[in-house]
Every structure is written in C-alpha cells, then in structure tokens.
C-alpha cells in the first residue's frame, strides 16, 4: 500500500490517521511472513554451508597432517598426544573406547537398544518381547515372566542415539584441535598443556565452568524429556499400553489425525473450544491486570496522596501469602455454601437465567465462572503490575510533566501523551511474557474452577470431561493424571501449546520495534 510521508500524515484527520495505521499494520503482515521464511531459509543455508566448510576443513587437515594427525581420524586424541597434550589426548581416547565398548561390544548396548525401538515404523511395537503369564514346570505354577519395558527401551534407544551424535561431535572437535596444534606448531608457538587448560577454566574459558552445571541440568531434565515426549506423540502410550504389562506401539500420525474429528465428542471440536477460551482468558487476564495495576500505581503515586507505603503494603500482601491458600479460600467464598455465594442466593442477586437452569453458584455457569476467574485474577495479579508500574513511573523524567503543564496540558492529556506511551514502550516485552504466562496459568484455573463447569455439548474427550474453563494446560494435566493416563494425548496437546506460543511470540516480536537492545543499558 501507499506510504505517506510525515507531512501528508499530519494533514490527515484523526479518524483518517487511525484508519491509515490499521491499514499499515495489516499491509505489513505479508512482509513479516516473508521475512520469517527468508530467515528460516538463511539459517538452513548457513547450516549446510558450515557443513560444507567443515568437510573441506577436515579434508585439508587430513592432507596436510603428519602421521599422528592422520591416526587421530580413527584413534581419538593421537594428534593431541603427539603435540604434548597428553591429558586431552587420553580423555579423547577414553571416550572412544567407552563408546565402542558400549555401542558394539556389550550384548545389551547401544546397537541392541537402537534396533529394539523400531523407530516410527507404524504398527511395530517399541521393544520386542511381550511380558506374559507363563507356566513354570519346575514349580508347577503360573508366573509373570517380564518382557521388555517399552518406556525403558525407548529411553535407552534415545540415549544411545544421543551417544552416537556425541561421538561424531567429539570426533570433529579433536580434529579441529589437531589443526590448531599444527598451525601453532608451524608458527613455533607454545601449545597449551593440561595446566594451561585448567587455568583457562577460571579465565578465558570461565563461561564453560559457569555454564556446565546449569546446561547439564537443562539437558537431562528438560531437553531429553521433551524430545522423548514429542516422540511419544507418535505412539499409543497410555494406561492400557503402559510399556511393561503391555508394550506400546507406533501409530504414525493417528494421534494428530484424531484432531480433525469435529463431531460431538471429537477432539477437533474440543481443541477449538479450549484454544478459544485460552486466548480469551490470556487476553483479558493480561490487559485487565495491566491497566488496573497501572491505574492504581498512578493513584498511589499522585502528589499529595499520603500513606503511599501503607497502600502498597496492603496490596503486596497478596503476593506474600502463598497463592494456593488465597486462591482455594477465595474460590470457596463464591461456592454455594460460601459467604458470598450464599449471600448472592439469599439476596436473590443471581441472574434469572442461572436460577432457571438451577445453577445456584457462580461456578456452575460457564459465563459467570469465566468472568469470576478474570475478576479473581485481578485480585491476585494487580499487585505485581502495581509494583512494576510504580518503579517505571518514578523513572519518567519529571521535566516532561513540568513542560507539558506549562503548555497547558491537563492530567488526562498527560496520561495519554506521556505516561501511557512511556509505559507501553518500557513494558512491551514484559506484556508478552505475562501473556504467555497466562496462556499456561495452571494454578488460577485449576485451584479456582478446576476447569468446570462441564461442557455438556462436548462431553468426554480422551477419557476426561472437558470443562468450559479448561485451558490447554489444565486439560493436559487432567489427561495425564486422570484415569486412562493418555500420555500420547498429553504429548500432542503439549506440541499444540508449543506451536501456539511460538506463533504468538513470533508475531509479537515482529510487531514490536526492536527495543530490546541489550547494550542499551550498560
């Protein structure tokens, strides 16, 4: 669309300018999508380019290298030992020996597990030997003879694959070091020994020391389980096929295809309901908190208001008291027996629509429980926003207000032209964080409404009753912990949550001006 220059833009009337901005926003969308794909393409291209470069580099090292360097292509660390790095060389060699013994020599080693998994071949089981009750002629009884445990087979298989990948990474690493050593040697410079290596761990290589424990924890407890669970989405792992009593098997894309069922009780319909409410919830929860919190912060911060500290402390109480206590208690207040719930019933304040359907508590009607959730979330979340808004308000340069007052601006104009733009500019990124946080806000929903009231039109989905206020995350929890333990369904839902969050974040990061330059503040 046609871009206006600054002068033309200023000539527009207010409504024209608004319309222009809206059109501008939408006209940019194709460009974002294009830039997204371009970025993706560049990343992939760079990856393959670096592979090619690496291959050339390896070839180069092999051609130029002496016998020790050539030897390290099959026997790890030879090049290191030749150039005097005995400790590194031995560690590389040890790694290679362990890898070969584990993968090829041990009877239940890497190859054994990798073969047993039957990766993704539809219909095949994970593991080969089904445990069963078998007759034992010696004791003349029937007993359980354990077979494979699919969960374990898949886990060991996955770990073995990781090990193979690690093998190639280490292989490449030590060849690179050979090359560095060759170059240093050629220039007649000193090659680092074990002592230098250790010393550099608290100096040049200090980042490695600091990162190792955290990264190890993240890899073992987040990366590995997530990869595992993504794989589970292609199996039928649930309580019936729990792996040891009954092997689970590969089902291809069946679990995903199930979401195209839009009939009654169909997963597609249920997903639509959940995504709709999840988005609505995150939107209202984020923005009501944002504006109400800012509003209260501005009131407390106003010149001439006294006891500023007292007001803040009262609000901050809700942060200090553990959320589940206050949430469970407040949730009960609104139940039919609770103080407020009973009062509403006695005073006949419940809407006629609800009474007619015999819904005697605010939690038993879909609309009222949704509104109530947003309101209670206000009670929980406003103090956080109030605190951060207070901090930011104090940072707004006072002379901005001074000069605007001299120019005759009233306080509404000051808010619209100074406070709000400034706040939006500074808190933009954190708005996204809290939006995503609300998409996955398990505690509030689960502790207050538990996902209820039940959505009778959809009924039972995946062995669980879908509620009107179920977010994706609460339903994921129900599916996992409820009877039937449909882990594969949980996994598919988890992938949907990921796609959902990633998509939103991409949009928001593209829309926002790149305000997040790290070096800005230092």
């Amino acid at each position: 669309m046609e871009r206006l220059n600054a002068l033309e833009y200023l000539k527009l009337s207010k409504s024209q300018a608004l319309w222009y901005n809206i059109k501008l926003f939408f006209s940019k969308i194709p460009a974002w999508i294009k830039s997204l794909f371009v970025k993706l393409w560049i990343t992939i291209k760079n990856f393959f380019l670096s592979l090619k470069e690496g291959a050339l580099d390896i070839k180069d090292t092999f051609v130029k290298g002496n016998w020790a360097v050539k030897l390290s292509f099959v026997s790890f660390g030879a090049g290191n030992i030749y150039y005097g790095q005995v400790m590194r060389g031995l560690l590389f060699l040890l790694f290679e020996v362990i890898f070969i013994v584990y993968t090829f020599i041990l009877p239940t080693g890497g190859i054994y597990w990798i073969r047993k998994v039957h990766w993704l071949s539809k219909g095949a089981t994970v593991g080969t030997v089904q445990g069963a009750m078998k007759y034992n002629p010696v004791t003349d009884t029937y007993g359980w003879v354990a077979g494979d445990d699919s969960v374990r087979v898949l886990l060991y298989g996955l770990l073995s694959v990781f090990f193979v990948i690690a093998f190639f990474v280490v292989w490449r690493m030590q060849i690179k070091q050979c090359k560095i050593n060759m170059e240093l040697h050629g220039q007649g410079r000193k090659i680092k020994g074990a002592k230098d290596d250790l010393r550099s761990l608290i100096d040049e290589q200090f980042h490695k020391t600091l990162l190792t424990p955290s990264l190890l924890g993240i890899i073992v407890f987040t990366v590995l389980p997530i990869i595992y669970m993504v794989i589970i989405a292609f199996t039928n792992y649930d309580a019936e096929h729990d792996g040891h009593a009954n092997l689970f098997s590969w089902v291809g894309f069946d679990n995903f295809n199930a979401f195209t069922d839009f009939g009654a009780g169909g997963l597609g319909l249920a997903l639509g309901e959940m995504v709709g409410w999840t988005l609505m919830w995150a939107f209202f929860a984020t923005f009501t908190n944002y504006f109400f919190g800012m509003f209260i912060a501005i009131l407390i911060n106003k010149k001439g208001i006294r006891f500023k500290k007292l007001w803040r402390t009262i609000l901050v109480m809700t942060i200090a008291v553990p959320q589940f206590v206050s949430l469970l208690y407040v949730g009960q207040l609104f139940s039919q027996q609770g103080v407020i719930g009973a009062f509403l019933e006695r005073a006949d304040l419940l809407p006629q629509v609800m009474v007619a359907q015999n819904q005697m508590s605010l939690w038993s009607n879909p609309v009222s429980s949704k509104i109530l959730l947003v309101v209670i979330n206000l009670w929980v979340g406003v103090p956080y926003m109030m605190l951060s808004a207070t901090g930011i308000l104090m940072n707004i340069p006072a002379d901005l207000y001074e000069s605007s007052r001299v120019d005759g601006a009233n306080s509404v104009q000051q808010f619209m032209k100074i406070t709000l733009p400034y706040m939006l500019f500074v808190t933009g990124p954190s708005l996204l964080t809290s939006f995503v946080g609300n998409l996955n806000n398990f505690n509030i929903i689960y502790l207050l409404s538990g996902g209820g009231p039940t959505n009778t039109e959809i009924g039972t989905v995946g062995g669980q009753q879908l509620g009107h206020t179920d977010l994706l995350i609460t339903f994921l929890f129900k599916v996992t912990t409820g009877s039937g333990s449909k882990y594969y369904l949980a996994s598919v839902l988890g992938i949907f949550v990921f796609i959902f969050v990633a998509f939103l974040s991409l949009i928001v990061y593209n829309v926002m001006p790149s305000t997040k330059n790290e070096e800005d503040y230092s």
Binding site: D203, E204, F206, H207, L210, L211, P213, S214, L215, G217, I218, F221, T222, L224, P225, I226, I296, L299, K302, G304, I305, W311, I314, M317, I319, A320, V321, P322, F324, S326, L328, Y329, Q332, L333, G338, V339, G341, A342, R346, Y384, L387, T390, G391, G428, P429, T433, Y446, L447, I473, L476, F477, T480, T481, A490, S491, G494, V497, A502, E518, Y521
Partner: protein
C-alpha cells in the same frame, strides 16, 4: 494589573479545591480497594478460629472463638507437610540461586561463541509446557525411589535442575552494571573468576536476595508437579497438595476439614509473609528491573 492578579488567585483557588476533591475521591477509592484486598485475609483468620463447626458456613463472623482447629491441625499430618515444604524451600533457594546466577552472569557479561544461539535455544525450549517433562521424569524417579514419600527429594531436583532457564530477570540486572568495571579489573590483572567473585558479586546483593527469595517461595505454591510425583502418599505431600485434598477431597472432606484448612493457611502464610515482607525491598527492585528489561 490588579484585575489580572485576582483572576489568577481565583484560578489557583479553584485548582486547589479541585485538587482536594480529587484527592478525597482517590482516598475513598484506595480505602475500598484496601478493604477488598484485605477481606480474604481477615476472613481466613476468623474462619481458622471458628469452633462451632468444621465445615463451610454462610456467615462471616464466627459464633464461638477458640484454638480447636489449631490443636487438631498439629495432630494431623500437617506438621510433616510443613517440614517437607520448608526443607524444599531452603534447598531450592540455595541450588536454584547458584544455577540462575551462573547462567545469567555468563549470558550477560561474558561474550563467547554460541551465546545468542544458546539464548534462542532456551527461549524456544521454554515454550513447551514444562509439565510435559514430568511424565518421563516420574517414570525414572519411581525406578530410583524418588516419588511418593521420597517425593520432596525428587521435587527439589525437578525444581532446581532446569532453573537456569529462568535467567531473564537477573540477566536484566547484570546488564545494568557498567562494563567498564570489568574492564578496569581485567586491566589490573584480575582473572574472569576474580571479576565475578570480587567485583560483580558484591554489587549484586539485591538480585541475589531476590533470587533466593523466589527460590524459597516457589515450593510453597506448586501444585502441578508436586501432585504428579506425590500421587496420594500422605507422608510425602507438600502443603499445597495436602491442603488441596482437604478442600477438594472426596466425600465429606470439605465438611470435616474446612476450618482446619483455614488454620493451616494461616500457619503457612505467617512465616512466608514474614520472610517476604522483610525482604520486600529486594523483591520490588527485582520486579521493576525485570519489567524494565523484559
């Protein structure tokens, strides 16, 4: 001239009265807000002192006041749950602080190859619901005996292991410390470790305390992970799971345990609130810093 003066005075008078009116309105509003925010806390204390019945009632002020609920509370499993949670809070605050500080410091102040990639990787990883990891972790932990009554130990590992991913707020803090400090120390011959330990850490008291505080508070509010590792084992519960079962448990659990739940709520809230309020200053710094940096 005279005329002008009086009109100015008049104007300032009207501004003054207008100001007074707005202030009164604001005070009224703030008082209403305070009442709304405080009522649940007053209510829970009153409920915990109510003796005439143990279930939920439709009136606010108790008819008989006493400490029966607290006596019952200390004879129940609650002290055990409380200890479990306290232990988790202390352990998590120690380990998590170590992980978060090392991660955020490295990403903020050290420059190395792959730094941006690492940050993007963790950003993407964080978009998966963390609960998903629990299915595999539960399976492995139950083989290792870290579930049910040993769940507190398992939970400490779960809370701490991946905590490096929550580096954002403290990285924001480290970003604000001038780089010239590091450079000056490096010129004087300090190693990177000495810069970290002797230059930056002494300046980072607010964020260290903030991180400790967050670590301590986290186990008190976690229901999701805890429920999954504990299942229904009474000895291994944390307060959130135990008290949830009192309220939402099967049968007449609510009827029998409601006032006890309130007493337990008071017992849980008091220590946490004291810790929180005494360190509130650091919390506010952390929150505002985090909001500014995102």
């Amino acid at each position: 001239m005279k005329n002008n003066n009086t009109s100015l005075e008049k104007k300032s008078m009207s501004v003054k009265t207008l100001n007074a009116v707005t202030n009164t309105v604001i005070y009224a509003f703030l008082i209403v807000i305070s009442i709304v925010w405080l009522i649940p806390f007053i209510g829970i204390v009153l409920e915990s002192l109510r003796c005439e019945s143990t279930g939920q009632v439709a009136y606010f002020f108790p008819k008989q006041i006493g400490f029966d609920n607290y006596v019952r509370l200390f004879k129940s499993d609650f002290p055990k749950w409380f200890l479990n949670t306290l232990l988790m809070g202390v352990a998590v605050s120690i380990f998590q602080t170590g992980f978060i500080l090392s991660m955020s410091y490295t990403l903020s102040r050290l420059r190395f190859k792959g730094r941006k990639t690492l940050m993007n990787f963790m950003l993407i990883l964080g978009m998966f619901p963390g609960f998903l990891t629990m299915i595999l972790i539960y399976k492995v932990f139950s083989d290792l005996g870290l579930t049910m009554e040993m769940a507190p130990v398992g939970l400490i590992i779960v809370y701490c292991a991946s905590s490096g991913m929550g580096y954002y707020i403290s990285k924001g803090f480290f970003d604000t410390i001038p780089k010239s400090l590091d450079e000056a120390a490096r010129v004087d011959g300090a190693t990177r470790w000495q810069v970290f330990y002797k230059v930056i850490m002494p300046l980072s008291k607010p964020i260290i305390i903030y991180t400790i505080l967050m670590g301590f508070m986290a186990p008190w509010g976690d229901y999701m992970m805890a429920r999954f590792l504990i299942k229904g084992n009474d000895a291994g519960k944390n307060v959130a799971v135990g008290m949830y079962d009192w309220i939402k448990g099967s049968g007449d659990s609510l009827y029998a345990n409601y006032t006890m739940f309130c007493a337990a709520g008071v017992c849980v809230s008091i220590p946490v609130t004291i810790v929180f309020m005494s360190l509130q200053k650091y919390y506010v710094e952390g929150v505002t810093g985090g909001a500014v940096k995102g």
